[in-house]
Symmetry: C2
Subunit: 160 residues, 2 copies
Amino acid sequence: MTLLMSVGLGSVSAMEQRLSLVTLGVTDLARAKAFYEALGWQPHPGDDDVVFFQAGGFVLALWGRGELAEDSSVTDSGGWGGITLAQNVRSPAEVDSVLSQAHAAGARIGRSGAETFWGGYSGVFVDPDGHPWEIAHNPFWTITEDGRTLLATNQGQPAP
Amino acid sequence: MTLLMSVGLGSVSAMEQRLSLVTLGVTDLARAKAFYEALGWQPHPGDDDVVFFQAGGFVLALWGRGELAEDSSVTDSGGWGGITLAQNVRSPAEVDSVLSQAHAAGARIGRSGAETFWGGYSGVFVDPDGHPWEIAHNPFWTITEDGRTLLATNQGQPAP
């Protein structure tokens, strides 16, 4: 009852501050699925025309780009549209390792791992459908053991 | 030591199956920030040219679209580029409520809340920079009390 009440209050006061799912539009679902599988990702079983990956408490989906555009009530401009994904990892060496794996799996390397102006280390790969992923080590953020990314240092201080 | 070893092994065997950050490219950072604040989201303090929101164990960022394109090593096609965000909520009524809030905050409603072909209920709003958000109630997935979205029913069964 308490939960129902709090949910009810939440639904009228504000949109919860969280994200559930990101869907990547793809031109060849089998190719896209194979790319992420080559990175070691395991799809959720049971779907044929959409692929879901459980990514921590979050879901990444692959779906036909035309269907996604229609479902999203937008016009497809055909290229990159202003959204970039990122995975934060635990060391500069892990940045290089992930970029190397992505390249081996068929990604274009947009920029190799290097120190950044904000004091971290990152690089970018672009997946076969043109979706960029920044792979970053940010010493001012925290990655928990269960893979959550927090805007604070390991000491619990907010990032500068 | 065990943790370091497991991280080391992870870095050579596979990219971890998780996502840390999604960055939305925007044309007017103050406007974009105000839109998400009008939805009740609270930005992380401390940055001027980028806005971060802690969204569960995940981060949503707002940054200048031109800077993001350059940083992501991609060419901007100027419109939607094949990525749609989603938030899953706990009831059809909450879908309608969030869409109503988004409309009041200045979003375009791409499609109103309605039953979907996959057995759920959803609608879409498009933020002032053209980024679509599907707001969905999916009875086959689980939202935990702390806001994680899991590809299974409340009974722990995989989604069909």
